[in-house]
């Protein structure tokens, strides 16, 4: 049964692992050089007190590859779900070979267990290889902590840690279940892809924020943290203020201006536009007065966020969620595989 | 080794056809004492018929004392029917020919001759009753 599973799977396996392997080799080749470049930059600007802007050139010159690699890791579950999971059982129905293989001296459940188990493990291994190689290569870039690009941010969270292994198992099990239900490969692939993409969107927007109670930070708006004014147009009504607050590396969920009663404001009085950074040093006094007036009126900035140290707990939670979904889907497959 | 032929439209059951063809082969000297009949597997592969049919035919021949199975080796011919060569029955043939000439002269057509022969044959057979089969 193991031989048969491999024999049927080997082309798909070699394709995906071939690509991942080639990428891993390329990363292994270029990785050390990038680490040295980064170390040199750090040494040049004097160690721990480096200003992030010193690394901007370094970061943005490799931005394309960096983003592409992250996209690759995020795509692995979809690939294994669509190309390994969906055809697993549906191909047998399409070609009629279920009448051949289920009549050999192997009960259906054992057949299913070996196929799901072996190819599922391969799916997890593929995700593991991808995330390990990319995480290792990206260490210098992750360390530059460009604002909003921390590990906790949705863009990067799925491409680091180990939750992607859970997602790969889930996508694979989903594909297999779709193939078993739909019995046609191409529709099963389409359905699997659609659901995996939907989950990919739903997870960070609707589930992950609630994995723990978000932390809350309320501060007075100062010249240091005020970034700008949110207006409906030049000279139009001011909606709120933009302030860069919140601890570094945190995942900001909401960032709003509230009034003295604690309510989120819809509009702010027109004089607030004086609080923005002045063009000439002479305007600084106007800004200071505006800010004092803002504070006196009770306006503050409130941020809800998940701090960076929640990265590993969240990874664990998500892996557990996807792991359970995978088991449920696999269980469903075992139920449905019985003769009708 | 003889090969069998099946005539599906002949109205004679397949197993009887095999029996008849073995007898014919024995008569004509194509099969001699000690020869081995084709294995059931060979016959069945060649004719695409039920193995039990061939088995039945070989059993019938065994019952007639013409062949005998040797376990593990096959089915072997015990005796031939070679003394029943056509020449031994020349007088019979001459009589039959004379009768046929008479029948034609009497105005009987082929079908009537056959019908007359077969009905007389059947009646005679029935009257012969439980007498041993004359090979």
């Amino acid at each position: 049964m193991i031989w048969l599973t491999w024999r049927q799977f080997r082309f798909s396996a070699l394709t995906v692992f071939g690509v991942l392997g080639a990428v891993a080799l390329a990363l292994a080749h270029t990785g050390p050089r990038l680490s040295r470049e980064y170390a040199d930059l750090r040494a040049a600007c004097g160690g721990a007190s480096c200003h992030p802007e010193a690394f901007e050139d370094f970061f943005f010159s490799h931005l394309g590859v960096y983003l592409g690699l992250n996209a690759l890791v995020i795509a692995v579950p979809a690939v294994v779900g669509v190309f390994w999971g969906a055809p697993l059982i549906s191909r047998e129905f399409e070609t009629g070979t279920q009448d051949l293989v289920w009549q050999q001296s192997v009960p259906r459940r054992r057949w299913l267990a070996v196929k799901l188990g072996l190819v599922g493990l391969a799916a997890i291994a593929a995700a593991g290889l991808a995330v390990a190689a990319v995480s290792w290569w990206s260490r210098p870039f992750d360390a530059t902590t460009i604002d909003g690009a921390g590990r906790m941010s949705p863009v990067l969270f799925d491409a680091r840690g180990y939750a992607v292994l859970g997602r790969a198992a889930f996508a694979f099990a989903l594909g297999a279940a779709a193939g078993l239900l739909i019995r046609r490969t191409v529709p099963a692939m389409a359905v699997t892809f659609a659901v995996v993409v939907a989950v990919q969107i739903v997870m960070p927007t609707m589930v992950r924020p609630h994995l723990a109670t978000p932390a809350r930070l309320e501060t007075v708006i100062t010249a240091n943290n005020l970034n700008g004014v949110e207006a409906s147009g030049p000279g139009g009504t001011v909606r709120g203020l933009q302030a860069g607050i919140g601890p570094p590396g945190a995942w900001i969920l909401t960032n709003e201006t509230v009034d003295s009663a604690g309510r989120t404001v819809d509009t702010l009085p027109a004089w607030v536009s004086d609080c923005t950074t002045p063009e000439a040093p002479s305007g600084e006094i106007t800004q200071q007065q505006c800010l004092q007036r803002l504070a006196a009126a009770g306006y503050r900035q409130v941020v809800t966020y998940h701090p960076a140290d929640r990265f590993w707990p969240f990874q664990a939670y998500e892996t557990a969620i996807f792991g359970m979904l995978s088991l449920l889907l696999a269980g469903f497959c075992f139920l449905r595989i019985r003769p009708s | 080794m003889i090969e069998f032929l099946l005539h599906p439209g002949s109205g004679v059951s397949p197993y009887l056809q095999i029996v008849q063809q073995v007898r014919q082969a024995l008569r004509l000297g194509l099969l001699r004492e000690g020869d081995r009949l084709p294995t059931i597997k060979t016959v069945v592969a060649q004719l695409a018929i039920n193995p039990n049919t061939v088995l039945k035919a070989y059993r019938e021949l065994e019952h007639e004392g013409l062949v005998a199975p040797r376990p593990g080796a096959g089915t072997f011919v015990l005796r031939t029917l070679a003394d029943d060569t056509v020449t031994a029955h020349d007088p019979l043939r001459a009589d039959l020919r004379a009768w046929l000439d008479q029948a034609w002269q009497a105005g009987l057509d082929d079908d009537s001759i056959e019908a007359l022969f077969w009905t007389t044959f059947r009646v005679a057979r029935r009257e012969a009753g439980s007498k041993e089969d004359v090979a």
Binding site: V106, P107 | V44
Partner: protein, 293 residues
């Protein structure tokens, strides 16, 4: 002899459609059984129930004394060739034999290779490139080499040309002679079944109409031709079909003892005509269908 397939009130329903109804049969072992009937009669359904690809809606079926496809041991005792003679088109012939070897404890590679050789298959050829007849031979080899006690084939030759058909049946019979396995073959071509079968089952409109030893069936069915008679019942005989012309009545009857009534001319019936008669007989019951000319 023990029964190789035993069904009691077996039925299968898909929604409102009855594919098989109240099927009660006792198929003896060691035979080549022909299953015949028109398309859609339920032959495939019955065979798939026997191999465990379907489960019954009503009734039960027992194969070789066990529930179909219950476990590996049961699966190893039954060989199945589905109507589509499925093969893995990406695997070579040789790889199919390896598949059989690894997945069946009773696999005999020698038998498999003999069958492949007799069929003239190239073991390095991909199964997807085989002709219909060659595929059927490969499927047969796979079913036979696992040394089953029962071989079930669903219309294995209906898509084959006459030569391929003959070669397949030869191969099948050769295997049957070799292994002594029981065989159940379904077909809608009576001529093929006549050559190879010694037991017959007729299936029409989801019901079994007739089942029995072919020799016994042919001996007990008679065609009676006589002057036109309207009451179409006969003492001691069951009338299967009746046909009337102005002056003549033709009956097909089933009787244990020969019909003595001198008014009737008795003729024997061939297997094909027998099957046709049962297929034409009334669907609801076995009462005769009168066709007026």
């Amino acid at each position: 002899m023990t029964a190789v397939v035993r069904a009691q009130g077996l039925g299968k329903r898909y929604g409102r459609r009855r594919a098989l109804s109240e099927c009660t049969v006792d198929i003896p072992a060691g035979r080549v059984v022909g299953l015949v009937g028109p398309n859609g009669a339920g032959k495939t359904t019955l065979l798939r129930l026997a191999v465990g690809q379907l489960t019954p809606t009503t009734g039960s079926i027992e194969v070789l004394g066990g529930r179909p496809a219950a476990d590996a041991a049961q699966l190893s005792r039954v060989g199945y060739v589905a109507q589509s003679t499925p093969v893995y088109s990406g695997l070579t012939v040789e790889e199919h034999l390896m598949l059989g070897d690894r997945l069946n404890p009773r696999w005999d590679m020698r038998i498999a290779r003999d069958r492949i050789e007799s069929a003239g298959l190239d073991s390095r050829q991909r199964a997807g490139r085989l002709s219909g007849g060659q595929r059927a031979q490969l499927a047969l080899a796979l079913a036979v080499a696992k040394r089953p006690d029962l071989l079930i084939l669903d219309e294995p030759v209906s898509a084959l040309d006459p030569l391929a058909r003959r070669e397949f049946l030869s191969g099948l019979m050769e295997s049957a002679a070799d292994t002594g396995a029981s065989v159940v073959v379904s077909s809608h071509v009576v001529g093929d079944l006549e050559r190879i079968c010694d037991y017959l089952m007729i299936l029409v409109a989801s019901r079994v109409r007739l089942a029995g030893d072919i020799d016994e069936l042919l001996a007990s069915h008679h065609q009676l031709i006589g002057p036109r008679r309207d009451p179409t019942t006969l003492p001691g005989a069951e009338v299967i079909t009746a046909r009337h012309t102005e002056r003549q009545t033709t009956l097909l009857v089933r009787a244990q003892r020969p019909v003595d009534d001198p008014a009737w001319t008795v003729a024997e019936i061939g297997l094909e005509d027998l099957v046709l008669a049962y297929m034409k007989a009334d669907a609801a019951s076995l009462s005769p269908m009168e066709v007026l000319r």
